[in-house]
Amino acid sequence: MRLDRLVPLVILAALGAPGRAAAQVLPERPLTLANGQVSVSGEVTASIGPRSDPGFFDYTDYEHNALRMLRLSLSGRWRPSARLAVLAEVRTENLERPTPYALFVRVRPWKAKAFDIQAGRIPAVFGTFSRHAYGADNALIGYPLAYQYLTSLRADAIPRTADDLLIMRGRGWHDTFPLGSIAATTGQPVISAYRWDTGVEARVEKGPIEAAAALTTGTLSNPRVGDDNAGRQLSARVAWRPFVGAIVGVSAAHGEWLAGNIKNRLSMALQDRSYPQTAYGLDAEYSRGYFLARGEVIASRWTLPPLDAPQIDAPLSAMASYVEARYRLTPRFFVSGRADHLGFSDLTGHLSNNLPTPWDYPVSRVEAGGGIYLQRNLVMRAVVQRNWRDGGRVREATFVSGQVSYWF
């Protein structure tokens, strides 16, 4: 069945639920086996939105539209003891081949100490959004630009000159560069919320302070299962709870981002250099009563090899920031909104008449909407999203999207 028929059917099925909602007609607990040692839960998120997005504002690194997607996921946990668990999640988007999103072991060495180690394909420690990007936890339908918008940068193909990059501004959905892979494909977001990295992480909590650090194979922009550059990323976040309801966190990440096949094609002098993605983040959350607000500021920098003139002789930077809020009007109804911006550092090339110009077009986004809990684990929402971009084929676009999310 075609997706554009299937998603409305899922939404219609959910619309039939309100009358029965109070009776909690759909299962709401995970399935448990082996006396509770094994638990399995699932989530269905069906979003119906614009049939076309010619500006590719909402395309993800899986080349799908975040506002028009059917996502099915199945999560499992095997917990043979109180201090050991194996967790996994498999998901499919738009009924395509299921992919393992997470697969890791979690260990708590000392039962009485809030110290945990995770190894495998693990959740990101940097920032906050990656860990609540699930349909139910996301305040809206779209994602923050930092976690979704495809910049023109790629890890497997790079520009030789500043002009090679400038000509690809606004083309993150489908770009090519002269060095590296010749296939045209998507660029990368500042941080990918659609894939998790592989490695090991540790987390400790003491009083109002929580700290987590991870050593992984890929980078924030390009999380990976297998290593492609013999480099490692070190990322960390420290969060402080000054009082109940408030969290302030700072994050940092540093790791080799350029694919090994590109590095091998550089001159010996350039091969000896390091080409990292370095990012810093500041996040905050405040909640009280029926109100919840979150925000993040993320600064990321990618270092590229300086090749031909006009050279890219300084790291390329991007600065992303967003603030979002949700208010529960009644037990069932809520409203939410997000304001978002992604900007880029300047680069000079012939295409910009030798004037400093952003290496990709800055983007802004406002998204607002509301939703209803048909039952505790069945949510319907609708949003309006407005996008602005300083250049490119499409500079402005407004989308309306609806979503049904069910989980157990």
């Binding site: 638990s39 039962k111 069932r332």
Partner: protein, 229 residues
């Protein structure tokens, strides 16, 4: 003024007597020898269940996501008439402690207030979407409490909007003949007038059971055991 007060006192005493004389003694007021229905409910092993979803996005081990589902509520259905007499507005309590609701099952009588104190160091957001009594208490910090009055009989599922593994049941009865089983599965329903009743057992994880029980005119103890499947 003094005369008015004296008249009022006299009328205050006489009026109920006159009403009783006119309507006759209500059947509920007839004296009886009370009995106790007691027994035990056996719940299958393995009723301590994982309540939370696999927390794949978390960075730490959840130590509070199991819940004891062995508690049962035993009640008369229907109940004898005196049980429906209006009384005061009792307060019950459901704590938010160690990321769980304590007690997990709370039976109350219609008109009761339930206090929801937050005993944890983190926020909780207690809410229910049940038809019986929808409510949302919002987020409030440790040491604070909010209360909800339950005016209709029924089952109220209670959740926390922040911690998905937290859930509880409030069972609102129109009468006072109900009891929660203890750690051993025992229960007792006291002060039951003579008659034949349907004793029902409710458990969140198992099908309900019913039994006909007769309380003799002479009162005493009546045993009724149940085994849930």
């Amino acid at each position: 003024m003094m005369r008015l007060r004296a008249w009022s006192r006299t009328f205050g005493l006489l009026a109920p007597l006159a009403a009783i004389a006119a309507l006759g003694w209500p059947a509920a007021a007839r004296p009886f020898v009370a009995a106790t229905i007691r027994g035990r409910v056996d719940v299958p092993a393995g009723s301590t269940a994982t309540n939370g979803r696999p927390d794949v996005a978390a960075l730490s081990m959840s130590m509070h996501d199991t819940v004891d589902r062995r508690r049962c509520v035993v009640y008369l259905d229907p109940a004898p008439r005196p049980a429906f007499d209006p009384g005061d507005e009792p307060h019950a309590r459901m704590d938010q402690r160690n990321e769980g609701f304590v007690p997990h099952v709370l039976p109350i009588v219609v008109g009761s207030w339930v206090d929801f104190p937050n005993d944890d160091r983190t926020y909780h957001n207690v809410f229910s979407l049940s038809k019986t009594r929808p409510f949302n208490l919002g987020r409030y910090a440790a040491g604070r409490s909010k209360s909800v009055r339950f005016d209709r009989p029924g089952i109220v599922r209670v959740f926390c909007d922040i911690h998905s593994h937290m859930s509880a049941f409030i069972i609102v009865f129109a009468h006072r003949y109900f009891s929660v089983t203890d750690d051993e599965g025992r229960y007792h329903l006291g002060n039951v007038p003579p008659g034949t009743y349907n004793v029902a057992v409710w458990n969140e994880a198992h099908a309900s059971q019913n039994r006909r029980v007769t309380v003799p005119d002479g009162g005493g103890d009546v045993e009724a055991d149940f085994t849930l499947r």
